[in-house]
Symmetry: C2
Subunit: 217 residues, 2 copies
């Protein structure tokens, strides 16, 4: 059901391409080895996941990756840009939601969306980075802007493109908001009975709601 994001190749994130080539001789870059960029990105992802946006520093990311902070700047630019690259990597599993909704036609689209999203949340590998993204976006304006941009650019148009209802983006957000709220109660605040509820029971209740939002005019 869910993709394990650790299986995703650490491909160059789009938001991270424009880098400032500053204060770093090419020789030193070569000395760090060809895997330095990927190591930095992995370290950034872990640091942001564990500390949140506010408490993460470029220096700390460099330290965790075993490189100088200058090399982090060299590859990714500012802290905001490092975050954009890390968030895009962590968000990769969610970017296939449109396919999950579309594959199989309108019937069952709500249930497929619910199962797919809960699949990401229930997976112990993909949950922490997703949690970190949400926490950062809810507490830091810059992080919220980065997440909003990623969703508005990469996810929302594709989901809306699969829907045949009025205001498809609004409908997609109604569905997403419900799943987001359940995730908060179940995985973050851990409120009972939601935290321990059987996933099948949740899907049974929520799927008809999503189906209505996604397909009923």
């Amino acid at each position: 059901m869910s993709r394990d994001p650790s299986e995703e190749p650490a491909r160059p994130a789009k938001a991270a391409k424009p880098v400032r080539r500053r204060g770093r001789p090419a020789r030193a870059e070569a000395a760090e080895g060809p895997g330095a960029r990927e190591r930095i990105l992995a370290a950034a992802r872990t640091e942001f996941a564990e500390r949140g946006y506010d408490k993460t520093s470029v220096r700390g990311i460099g330290k965790a990756a075993g490189v100088d902070a200058a090399l982090v700047h060299h590859y990714f630019g500012t802290k905001e840009q490092v975050f954009a690259a890390a968030i895009e990597l962590s968000f990769a599993p969610a970017l296939t939601i449109p396919d999950a909704i579309a594959d199989g036609g309108e019937a069952g689209a709500g249930e497929r969306m619910a199962r797919f999203v809960f699949g990401i949340w229930e997976n112990p590998v993909s949950r922490p980075p997703l949690l970190a993204i949400m926490r950062s976006a809810l507490t830091n304006e810059t992080a919220a802007t980065v997440l909003r941009g990623l969703i508005e650019r990469r996810l929302l148009p594709r989901v809306a493109g699969e829907l045949h209802v009025p205001d498809p983006e609004f409908r997609a957000q109604l569905a997403a908001s419900h799943l987001m709220g359940i995730a908060m109660l179940r995985y973050v605040i851990k409120m009972e009975p939601m935290a321990s509820a059987d996933l099948e029971e949740i899907v049974a209740m929520v799927a008809p709601t999503l189906q209505r939002y996604l397909t009923e005019a």
Copy 2:
């Protein structure tokens, strides 16, 4: 529709009753004046709202209230206990949700719940403290525990008591999760089109969902 929490009297919060009477002579307490407790509570609420749980300190609350940090400890105990008192005050408007659901019978319960909760969020006075509570609970384990306790003790049983469906607490949380998720998208992450959507359009879509959760077996 919404209650202005600033109109709520700054009554002693239940969670704040057991205080540690330490390191503070009764004479100094008297010198601070009879309004000191209320001033401290108001300052705590503002500090937690503006800085979040992690960045708020008892010293900072004392400073904002114009009293010594020791007096804050004297009245409320630990930072966690000050937070519990502040959260309970900020959460007061939400504690009347059960009445909003019950008044008028089953028909329209979903719409009344939606209107009541959005009324609190749309009110510029009650939104910031509510936002602060959510942010704190999503980023700090202690804050989450305090909020969870407050809801489990004071809100959930009363809402569930009004419902005539199987698993009434689970149903109440399904409804609450949806409103919470919309609030995140609309007021925190400010994602379009949800952020600018007409409130009536949102209520029209969401009310039938809540109605189903709250009333259909």
